[in-house]
Amino acid sequence: MTYDTVVIGAGLAGLTAALRLAEEGRQVILVAKGVGSTHLAPATIDVLAVDDKSPAEALSKLPSEHPYARLPVEVVAASIEWFKARVAGYRGGLHENFLLPTAVGAVKPSAVVPESMAGGDLRGGGRFVFVGLGLKDFYPAYLAENLDQLADVSARGIELTLSHEGSLDLARRFEQADLREVIARQLNAQLEPDERVGFPAVLGLRHAAEVWRDLEERLERPVFEVATLPPSLPGMRLYEAMSEPLRKAGGRVIIGPTVVAAETSNGRVEGVVVEQAARSTTLRARSFMLATGGFASGGLQLDSRGRIRETVFDLPVAGAPDRPRFLPTYLEEQPLDRVGVAVDEQFRPTDVDGNPRYENLYAAGATLAGAAPWREGSGNGLSVATGYAAATILEGAQ
């Protein structure tokens, strides 16, 4: 089969680009050596984590090396609208961040959030109750104590005794009405009228919207989810919400084989070499989208000699520091944070002199140079915006 586009990577950037292209009627195949970061991250679309300011405003002030600087704010906004039109139940936009509580009671700014998390918005304060379900790494008293120190916020924790289960089991049990019934009965006896109720983000998987609404009805108040440690149930829902329409639009999704190299000629990528069970094969296409992520997901590799490689196309890597590569101030920005693939205005990876390396190769997401998603709170926003924009440009170029 000759495809229009091979997308490499199954994180949010790859899924966004693949879905966008498949919807335009392109023959798309998405190949990934495994499932991407959706299952690990909270599934909020963080555009830029600026407190009390609009992400839109902050976007326009980024340095020119930042991937967002390739995009007019209107394009970022369009990508968010595109996303919201496809994945049901997301709220927000670029005008102002939600401020959501994390599992340790920190405050996390996020532009676009699942409706099941929106009720935890701390802007404007209020009274919050956090419910523990015996889940490891979710301690409502600790969470509440930290949040309680914020002005206008009062918070307390309640621990319900459930048999000890992991978040996946709990999510499945929440899909059954009897558990919700028991929990609602126990909570209704303890809640004050104006308190909002936060649960760890385990409120269902396939029928999550129904589970959340049902709990709001039973408790007669806003109910919200707080992101937990992996696995991320909201992230699993997001993966389903993106990959299912991709398949329905005729896109192929292959999870498992690793893309190890490329075949190129005359400044074009002709195919990518995919490792299968017994041999390797070449997937040919008119264009290619690199969305393999950064160091954590193997899109970039740092070897023991300090060399940094982009692992599929061996593209030049920008932003590599000389020395030191690590600083002992672990919570501050690290020299390697902004390393990645540099791209031109059309999201095509470039040579050291700024020219596109291959005319039909595009890149999106965490593989791009210039951003430090975990520091600036831009992870999923960057993936949606660059995945959308790069796919739009690619589509126009064909």
Partner: protein
């Protein structure tokens, strides 16, 4: 344990993605999940020490390895741990028996009517349930009463310079010789000379049941039959996705068999749909398909996905006029070869398959396509919808079932 498998352990970052996809830990607390029994429990295992019995509830479907973004060979680790477990404890008689399909096939084929009566008889099945540990409801295919090998010996294949070796596996030989005949007909229709050497089990069921030494014996014997062809440049096609995967990868990664013969056979082995789509990509597949006005849901079995070839059946079936194929996205049918036959595992296996059964049922189709024989039997068991190998649809669309009749549709 192979270095390849062992080394991959170090790449586990405990991200739990495998746990979110495991179809078995979702439905039973008896299996705590692939990460738990694999990368985590592995450090407690040593020479002669395999304390974690829950690894026996891993079905070996391999989905964990497929979804792992760090390249950890989780299913392979668990498969080897299961073998160690049973080596320590001794393999139950039941597991020894059901893991030898060719022994059962040779035994029962001559008395197939009797065997089939017994397999459908409630009293016999209850007895087998209580004494033999085979669940009385588990899907049991009917013996055909004649083997595919017998047909093959009488069959004169087309004379052609384009040659292919057919590895049909035990399911085709004893239960579904008709599928084998269709594979041969489709290949011959495309101008191939099909050679069907005498062959026995690949050892996969023994591997799944933890008897590696016996599995290796079967495997080496099969490799011995196929290797001369592979060395001579013949492609080998297989219609059983799990047995094909044994030749392609599991022999090396799980059973730790090495050697030039295996390498040659691995490199030559193709799943039948992979092979046919390869022909199509080179413009060598005949596309004289007649209309097949059907809606067919398609389920790619776990072991098919393990080939890492995508879903060639979808592309092939798309060539047939008026055939509408629905790609199902349920992960697993639950049977996992012999797993779902076992008394203590039958209900787990049915719970795993529930989503697939529902999707098949809700499609309203009269026929469902699936590449693996045991999965087809399980789907029929769970839905009462007839399940066929994708090749059967190609065979019908080529008009090979009724060569004279050419309907104007």
């Amino acid at each position: 344990m192979t270095e390849l498998v062992r080394d991959s352990l170090d790449h586990c970052v405990k991200c739990t993605i495998c746990e979110t996809f495991c179809p078995f830990s979702q439905v039973t607390p008896l299996f705590p999940g692939p990460k738990y029994v694999g990368p985590q429990a592995e450090r407690y295992r040593g020479a002669g020490l395999s304390p974690d019995v829950s690894v026996d509830y891993c079905s070996g479907c391999g989905i964990c390895t497929q979804v792992c973004p760090q390249g950890v060979k989780i299913a392979e680790i668990n498969s080897q741990a299961r073998a160690q477990l049973w080596e320590d404890r001794g393999i139950p008689l039941r597991n020894q028996l059901i893991a030898r399909p060719s022994v059962l096939g040779r035994l029962w084929t001559p008395v197939a009517p009797l065997a089939n009566w017994a397999l459908q008889n409630r009293a016999v099945r209850l007895l087998a349930h209580r004494l033999g540990g085979i669940h009385y409801k588990a899907p049991m295919p009917k013996f055909a009463g004649h083997t595919f090998q017998r047909w093959a010996k009488r069959h004169r294949s087309t004379v052609s310079r384009r040659k292919v070796v057919y590895f049909h596996g035990c399911g085709t030989n004893y239960y579904e010789p008709g599928v084998g005949e269709m594979v041969v007909a489709v290949l011959e229709h495309n101008g191939f000379h099909v050679r069907i050497p005498p062959q026995d089990c690949c050892g996969l069921p023994l591997q799944s049941n933890g008897n590696f030494p016996a599995a290796r014996k079967y495997l080496r014997r099969l490799i011995g039959k196929l290797a001369p062809y592979a060395h001579d440049g013949w492609p080998i096609v297989a219609n059983s996705t799990s047995c094909g995967l044994m030749l392609k990868r599991e022999a090396r990664e799980i059973l730790e068999v090495e050697g030039e013969d295996l390498e040659a056979v691995s490199a030559a082995t193709h799943d039948i749909c992979e092979f046919l789509l390869g022909l199509h990509e080179r413009g060598e597949l005949r596309t004289d398909f007649r209309s097949l006005p059907l809606t067919v849901p398609y389920h790619a079995p776990c072991q098919q996905r393990g080939h890492e070839i995508g879903k060639p059946a979808l592309d092939l079936l798309a060539l047939i006029p008026d055939l509408r194929v629905i790609e199902l996205d349920a992960d697993c049918c639950g049977i996992a070869g012999t797993y779902g036959l076992k008394k203590e595992k039958y209900s787990i296996s049915m719970a795993v398959g529930e989503r697939l059964f529902r999707d098949v049922y809700e499609s309203g189709a009269n026929v469902v396509a699936c590449d693996s024989e045991t999965c087809r039997w399980q789907i029929e068991h769970g839905t009462d919808v007839h399940a066929v190998h994708p090749v059967e649809l190609l065979y019908r669309a080529y008009g090979l079932d009724a060569p004279v009749a050419v309907s104007a549709g």
